[in-house]
Symmetry: C2
Subunit: 197 residues, 2 copies
Amino acid sequence: MAETTRDRILDAALRAYGTEGFAVTSLDALADQLGIRKQTILYYFPSKQAVFEAVIDAAAVDLVKAFDEEASRGLVGLDQVEAIVRRVFRLAVAQPELLGLIREVTRPGSLSADRLATQIAPVLDRARDFLQREMDAGHLRRSDPEMLLLSLYSTVVGVATELEVQRAMGLPPTLRGTVARRQELTRFLRAALEPAD
Amino acid sequence: MAETTRDRILDAALRAYGTEGFAVTSLDALADQLGIRKQTILYYFPSKQAVFEAVIDAAAVDLVKAFDEEASRGLVGLDQVEAIVRRVFRLAVAQPELLGLIREVTRPGSLSADRLATQIAPVLDRARDFLQREMDAGHLRRSDPEMLLLSLYSTVVGVATELEVQRAMGLPPTLRGTVARRQELTRFLRAALEPAD
DNA sequence: CAGACTCTCTACCAATTGGTAGAGAGGTCT
DNA sequence: AGACCTCTCTACCAATTGGTAGAGAGTCTG
């Protein structure tokens, strides 16, 4: 199965947008990187913004696929959540551009509110529904699924950011070490912050 | 003490670069926001890049000042570190643009390697020296100060990112709640990740 | 008052940007 | 062969960008 030109563009765009950023990556630069002209890109996509949105779509599809695969393995409750979180982390570690993309998406004005709703919401909805179902089935302690989702999401982004910082500082990023260190430091930080406001 | 035009420019630039990003914020946009022409900005700064670097300088000065103030209060060891970390967090919470600025700086190619060395290194050096001194004095458990510094740094960035995500999702960001939730989730994540690679 | 200095402006420029128009090459179907 | 379709190209454009040149207004200094 040969990789189509369109796929190659999406690949390169994910890498570029995730590391350099959407705004600073011109169509020309993207095309150069692929050895084609930018007009070829504009043949496959109506605009630069459309490339961005297609990249997000593809990433969302990947996430949903990973989610579903993990969810279809018959685990329940915490085991299920564990498996999914681990899988998402594996995705983030294997594809560090994904984190950059997330940051790019959350940047104000990068995506119109309705596109955000159309593209991101389904992923979040799926996750929220899953958590709700598991709670209803008694597999998870009952709490506000919205808050739990937010917690999971921000934690994933936070941990992934730490990994990226480590990478940026020239240290080999290790998920295991990060999580262990985080636990240690979090206990300390809690003590540090508790007495104050 | 009236705020000089230069200060107003730096203020607006910090806000704009931290939230929207450096690349997407044109000098025209920055000037419009201040009710002046971009040539006025270029009177105070030789180039757009220089504005960016001045913003970073100012932020670094703020950080160093906060650091020194906290360090001069006569605390030792963990109490000292606690006070400093708490202070840095207060800065990050009061000025959320600071986090965006950090992300902007760590973006590849945003700052030349030597400018990075000139501007960021002093802050890190100061922190590393401080940790080393405290270890030598027996106030902190002896470990690799480089690693401890990295841990503290990435944790601060990670927590700050979580706060920002919460803000982006329309929830009031609370440092207390984030830290508490993080501890809970970290324990869970550790369990989730421990058995795997 | 004369001159210098500080500051903000108008006018302009070269380069880059995202995007359009349309030609041409190659293959496929009738 | 001829019409059609897919794809990539050359050529071009309008808008925006960072940056320069220099005039003009205000203030301070002699």
